[in-house]
């Protein structure tokens, strides 16, 4: 076990002039989680908009279901995706297990309910304000939804960021479906877990610092977006 001080010094050095390995791990993390965030938005925003604007039988049940899915533990998501993608599973023929694609799938499954549930809340509040005006203007449902999505863009961006933050920080799902294979499926969180268990604290700390910077950065961005959205609303 290295001395803590030494480990910190090494970690800082790594962050300031990253090795190829470190850059690769960070790059893969960002690629996987950003792709998952985009996919989760493509799936979750329309679902959120539908739940916000449509009244149909079973809507309440769907709402409860989506809200419950928000709290899914990442390891459970990982396990379910693993079962689907494993050779004996229904999607086994795709041969995706232990690839970055499998990690993207797992993180997408993990955060789509978050995007759907949070955007549903935002769009429903906005729709309460707009719906009668839209009907007076004789807009179609699709035109109304488009206007809601655009007018809610700042708040929805914070939803996407929240999803990204959760995806990039989770370890259980990507560990199970990705397998933490060097140069292939090793991302920041799985690398931190591995390096720590090996006692390689310098790399783990360097990754930890980068992950924390990303998490804090995302949070700061969410806060400032929320503030500016509130400022906009105050002028409403």
């Amino acid at each position: 076990m290295q001395d803590f001080g030494e480990a910190f010094a090494l970690a800082f050095g790594l962050v300031l002039s990253p090795t190829g390995d470190l850059a690769e791990i960070v790059g893969l993390s960002l690629r996987v989680s950003l792709t998952a965030t985009v996919l989760a938005c493509l799936l979750g925003l329309p679902l959120g908009a539908l739940l916000a604007t449509a009244r149909f039988r079973g809507r309440g049940a769907v709402l409860v279901f989506v809200n419950a899915l928000m709290g899914l533990p990442p390891v459970v998501v990982g396990l379910l995706v693993y079962l689907s993608l494993s050779r004996a599973g229904p999607l086994g023929f795709l041969g995706l297990l232990y690839t970055s694609t499998a990690m993207i799938v797992a993180q997408t499954v993990l955060i789509t309910p978050i995007v759907a549930a949070l955007s549903r809340q935002i769009l429903e509040d906005l729709n309460d304000e707009y719906a009668e005006q839209f009907r007076a203007l004789c807009l179609t449902r699709w035109q109304s939804v488009q206007a809601l999505l655009w007018d809610g863009r700042y708040a929805l961006l914070t939803v996407a960021l929240a999803g990204f933050g959760r995806a990039v920080a989770e370890v259980g799902a990507v560990m199970i479906v990705g397998g933490n294979i060097d140069h292939l499926t090793r991302v920041m969180t799985t690398a931190i877990a591995l390096e720590t268990s090996k006692g390689e604290l310098a790399l783990a700390l360097a990754l930890g610092m980068i992950l924390m910077a990303i998490a804090l950065g995302v949070n700061a961005l969410v806060q400032s977006l929320r503030l500016s959205a509130e400022r906009q609303a105050a002028h409403a």
């Binding site: 203007l137 004789c138 807009l139 206007a147 007018d151 906009q232 409403a236």
Partner: protein, 244 residues
């Protein structure tokens, strides 16, 4: 009950309007109680009545936004629910989109398949050309109401329904908005205007409908209404007495 002194019954595709036995209630509270009304004249019909008389709800019914509990609304053969696209309703508190003034007009022009090059002329018409790039949500009350009017006019309505468009606005805005209403009237748009302000009613009305307790208490030409109102409630209202 009706002697419409002025005669200005030009042809209008949406007139006559025939409302019969209109009932509307919320919970146990009756808002409209078998309202009958027939409008034949073009020009400006002003609707007045005490607070809570059901004026705003009546406009929503005329625009087909809500359904009555009973009764019919017939716009020259078209029921209210299918007349919405041929009319425009400006709410007392219009909802503007969270985008620029110009983008608010762009949006409805595009959504309703109108000529988008008319946007600048519309802004000019309501005196908002210099605010085109500003966020609509930062407009003053009067400016916001003028943008709502421009948006309504962008729809080429045959009927313009206005719910207290100048309530609590500065005199300059009131003047500007009344000029816009007069102009619409001149172009043959049927205007139905709810107002609280007898002065405004005098300035704009061709005829007046006075609502009271969920029914039409008086329907007269503007001249008759202001000079010799027939109903006690209208007389009390004009004399500044409290009408409940």
């Amino acid at each position: 009950m009706r002697d419409l002194g002025y005669v200005e019954t030009l042809e209008h595709a949406m007139l006559p309007l025939t409302v019969s036995g209109l009932r509307l209630s919320f919970g146990g509270k009756t808002v409209l109680d078998g309202l009958d009304l027939s409008l034949t004249a073009t020009g400006v019909t002003v609707i007045m009545g005490p607070n809570g008389a059901g004026k705003s709800q009546f406009l929503k019914l005329l625009h087909g936004l809500i359904a009555p509990d009973a009764g019919q609304i017939d716009w020259n053969g078209t029921p209210a629910t299918r007349a919405t696209a041929r009319q425009a309703l400006v709410f007392q508190k219009p909802v503007l989109l969270r985008r620029s003034v110009a983008a608010n007009l762009d949006f409805v022009l595009k959504a309703r398949g109108k000529d988008r090059s008319r946007r600048d002329a519309l802004l000019d018409h309501v005196g908002l050309s210099d605010k085109a790039r500003q966020p609509a949500r930062r407009l003053s009350g009067g400016e916001a109401q003028r943008l709502a009017l421009a948006r309504a006019l962008a729809l080429d309505p045959e009927v313009l329904l206005l719910d207290e468009p100048t309530a609590s606005l500065d005199p300059g805005s009131v003047l500007a908005i009344e000029a816009i209403i007069r102009d619409a009237r001149t172009r043959g748009v049927k205007v139905i205007l709810v107002t609280h302000d007898p002065g405004q009613a005098r300035r704009l009305a061709d005829e007046v409908v006075f609502l009271h307790r969920g029914r039409v208490a008086e329907h007269s030409s503007a001249e008759t209404f202001f000079d010799r109102p027939r109903s006690t409630v209208a007389r009390d209202f004009l004399d500044g007495r409290i009408v409940v």
